[in-house]
């Protein structure tokens, strides 16, 4: 099949008819042409994927379908009838529901109150709540979507919150459900549960549009897939007749290496050693419980685990952002003093660079320009000026070289960093930390919210540093990333390193079990799962 010929799968009308037909949709935001002449047809009772890099226009297109924005031009047909969707209420009335990437839930309301909000039957809420409770019971049974109607949103897990969003849409009579990056916030298990629910919904005749940038999900669950690039629809394909490589190429517009190429590691002497580290979070809860490990020159240690099992506190402690309760961190055999407000500064001076997990909150000051961010954390270094004065010329020169080396776009050192895309923001942080030539690099979530092209680049740079003989500690919730980059994998669960694995031999299943706190080799610690009977 030739992927350059668009709409190969959408040539003939399906037996069940088209649930959604978009024709020549255009939308501009100022100078940005977010959607250019988009055509999209989604067959009833199917799961249709929409993929594209960040900024390709996927979310804009769906927001138009959902009535959050109105298109500048183009037609929308729902079940064959043309409509000008004016607002979300109108879209809901046509049976189109949306589950947003950032949930549209009121955190201190109960599940029931959230479901009823905006769909109340009368001025008083009691009858609506009663009816919703009954309806919820029915929906839960029909679609196997269990959730406690009286639970308050902020007390339930992210996966449960997402179910509430789905139930909200179903309660409003949605026949077509749009899900925007639904697995971004889910654990692997929660994602599996979600896919099970989506399959059930499809069996019941619902139509699902799945926006994602994860090719694995497209391959796993969709019937057909549309690829967007830079505001244009470049192809619609039958999932069964395509491959991840083909989709990736269509998304980026060039061939992409999905598998990281790296040679075997040549570990040297130990550069970073962590001994018996104990760290608490802001609430005083111990999140890192007596963790010890070491990283040698020329190797990448990957720390895997479901988000919230102490990885963040571990990273923050090693990089000097968070005080430790007990333990020692040795850099090059020398104990590193990390206590106090200037712990992070001392760590940097000693040769430990840190790329924090959340680039917008910890890695950048997004209202500062690119060049200001390019020296952030190193502003006291002698090459950027002496005394109270900053050598702005030197800083700008460094910034310009970072931009060139890391291919940051747009190449403008005076632009505010908030105006760069996620991938380019991450490159700015990486360039700043890597170009200092540190002995040890600690990286958290290097590619979170970064598009495929940039991921490939960032992975290559990390491998390059390893091959230069640096010690790299990598923390990521993306198991694929850990498996393809790390030379050794440590799995963290409930503040403890529950096991070590060799990425060459460990299966995803084995790692998944360890991430759930179950380790066949070493005894599980501090959890009750083992008592619940034999493992599956």
């Amino acid at each position: 099949m030739n992927p350059q010929r668009p709409e190969t799968a959408a040539a003939s009308a399906p037996a069940s008819g088209w649930a959604i037909e978009l024709e020549k949709i255009n939308k501009r935001f100022g100078a940005v042409h977010a959607n250019k002449d988009i055509d999209l047809k989604v067959a009833s009772g199917t799961i249709h994927g929409i993929v594209g890099e960040n900024g390709a226009g996927k979310s804009t297109l769906m927001s138009i379908l959902y009535g959050f924005y109105t298109a500048d031009s183009g037609t929308i047909r729902v079940n064959g009838a043309q409509h000008a969707i004016t607002d979300s209420r109108h879209a809901l009335a046509l049976g189109i529901g949306m589950v947003h990437q950032h949930f549209m839930l009121v955190d201190n309301f109960t599940v029931l109150e959230n479901i009823v909000l905006g769909a109340e039957d009368s001025g008083f809420i009691k009858p609506s709540l009663d009816r919703a409770r009954k309806e919820l019971d029915r929906l839960e049974q029909e679609y196997d979507l269990e959730v406690d109607p009286d639970a308050v949103i902020e007390d339930i897990s992210v996966g449960q919150q997402q179910r509430v969003e789905i139930l909200k849409a179903l309660y409003r009579g949605a026949e077509t459900l749009i899900l925007d990056e639904p697995t971004g916030v889910l654990t692997p298990k929660e994602a599996d549960d979600l896919f099970r629910v989506l399959r059930t919904l499809r069996e019941q005749g619902k139509t699902i549009i799945l926006i994602t940038h994860k090719l694995r999900e497209i391959m796993a669950i969709t019937d057909s897939v549309s690829v967007m690039r830079q505001g244009e629809m470049v192809a619609t394909l039958e999932t069964a007749k395509t491959s991840p490589e083909e989709i990736a190429e269509l998304m980026v517009g060039r061939r992409v290496l999905l598998q990281v190429e790296k040679g075997p590691a040549n570990p040297g002497k130990t550069l970073l050693e962590v001994q018996n580290l104990i760290v608490s979070d802001d609430m005083g809860v111990t999140r890192v419980k007596d963790v010890s490990f070491s990283v040698r020159a020329g190797e990448i240690i990957g720390i895997a685990g479901v988000s919230g099992n102490g990885q963040s506190e571990l990273l923050e402690s090693i990089s000097g952002m968070r005080d430790q309760q007990a333990g020692t961190v040795l850099l090059n055999g020398q104990p590193l003093s990390l206590e106090g407000d200037d712990g992070a500064a001392r760590a940097r001076v000693a040769g430990l660079a840190h790329v924090p997990e959340d680039r917008q909150r910890m890695g950048l000051v997004t209202t500062f320009s690119e060049w200001e961010n390019a020296i952030l954390g190193y502003q006291d270094s002698p090459e950027y000026g002496s005394g109270a004065l900053l050598d702005i010329g030197a800083a700008k020169k460094a910034a310009a070289s970072h931009i060139e080396l890391f291919d940051v776009r747009p190449a403008n050192i005076n632009l505010k960093t908030s105006l760069f895309s996620g991938g380019n923001q991450q490159k700015i942080v990486l360039a700043r930390e890597m170009e200092r030539d540190p002995d040890v690099l600690v990286i958290g979530q290097p590619t979170r919210g970064v598009d495929i092209g940039a991921i490939e680049f960032i992975h290559k740079e990390i491998i390059k540093m390893r091959d230069e003989g640096k010690a790299i500690l990598l923390v990521s919730v993306e198991l694929d990333e850990i498996r393809s980059l790390a030379d050794r994998i440590l799995v963290m669960f409930d503040g403890v390193i529950v096991g070590e694995a060799d990425p060459a031999t460990a299966t995803e299943g084995e790692l998944g079990l360890m991430m759930a706190g179950i380790n066949n080799k070493t005894a599980p610690r501090g959890l009750g799962i083992a008592e619940q009977g034999p493992l599956p």
Partner: protein
């Protein structure tokens, strides 16, 4: 202290709590909708002036009340336009209202009545009369319960009863009606409300209107019920105390009532304690008068715990791209 003295302090407590309570409930609507309202003071002051002026000219307390509510509503809408439609900073909009009200009331008062900013004293009918509840006189002789009913519960201005009824009404509106559900939601997550197909702007204006009307009642209470005519800056920071009470009560109606009663009680005690002696020296009256305000600070700082207000409070809503 005998029963009569206790009842007299409690009676004063109720009278002094009433404007606080009305203003506090007023603030509850806008703050629950996600609009910080530091302008309660200004709206009350404007209403107090309007009520005093119209009651003095017309000789009717009811017309005065109406004028107070209309002016407060207008002021509230002005603040609303700045904060909602023009997406201005809500604190600055509120402060501006307070400064505007402080200046305008004195200026207009002086221009119209030439009494140093005061409105003329109210005659018969210009001021609300106290209401004697049924059987109050007959039951006054019953031991303990009689005086409580006759002196404490009966014999207040109508606005006092309205204020306490509004506590129940507000609770019902907020927690049992569709409007209340949406109002609370818009203060927590306006985007959720928007995507549910409800207008955020409309809801917030509705909240601002209710706030304006209730502030009107609170302001009128100062000039045509508790007082007889308007005096310069007669609200004396009560709007800020009401705001403090709102935070202390964590934006809930019934706790708000008790908090306002507590602050009212401190005020009543202050009046009672004037000319009190400590170690043989008369305590300066200013120190006693400052007591309720000092206690407000202490209570807010020390006993409140973590007060988490409506999450979207203070943030103008913009549909993001």
């Amino acid at each position: 202290m005998d029963l009569a003295a206790i009842l007299s302090i409690l009676d004063a407590t109720i009278r002094l709590s009433t404007p606080l309570l009305l203003a506090c409930l007023a603030g509850m609507y806008s703050e629950r909708a996600g609009l910080f309202d530091i302008g309660l003071e200004g709206k009350m002051l404007a209403a107090a002036f309007a009520a005093g002026a119209v009651a003095a000219i017309s000789g009717s307390a009811w017309l005065g009340l109406l004028a107070g509510m209309v002016v407060s509503l207008g002021t509230s809408l002005l603040q609303g336009v700045a904060a909602i439609s023009l997406k201005g900073n809500q604190l600055i909009a509120g402060v501006a209202i307070n400064m505007l009200a402080a200046g305008m009331t004195t200026f207009l008062g002086q221009t119209w009545f030439h009494q140093g900013g005061r409105t003329p004293p109210l005659g018969e009918g210009g001021r609300f009369e106290t209401i004697t509840l049924p059987f109050a006189d007959e039951l006054a002789g019953v031991p303990i319960l009689g005086p409580i009913y006759a002196d404490l519960i009966s014999g207040h201005y109508i606005l006092v009863y309205i204020a306490f009824i509004m506590v129940a009404v507000t609770w019902f509106v907020l927690f049992r009606t569709r409007f209340g559900l949406r109002l609370r939601a818009v203060g927590e997550n306006p985007k959720a409300v928007d995507t549910a197909g409800i207008s955020v702007v409309k809801l917030r204006y509705q909240a601002v209107i209710i706030t304006g009307l209730l502030c009107g009642l609170a302001g009128a209470y100062f000039s045509i019920a508790q007082g007889s005519g308007f005096g310069n800056n007669m609200t004396a920071g009560k709007g800020y105390i009401a705001l403090a009470a709102l935070i202390f009560a964590k934006w809930k109606p019934v706790p708000a009532m008790f908090t306002c009663l507590l602050f009212g009680f401190l005020d009543a005690l202050q009046i009672r304690l004037q000319s009190a002696q400590l170690f043989g020296i008369e305590v300066p009256v200013q120190a006693i008068q400052a007591l309720p305000y000092v206690l407000t600070v202490v209570l807010l700082a020390g006993f409140i715990g973590k007060a988490v207000g409506p999450k979207a409070g203070g943030v103008p809503y913009t549909k993001e791209r």
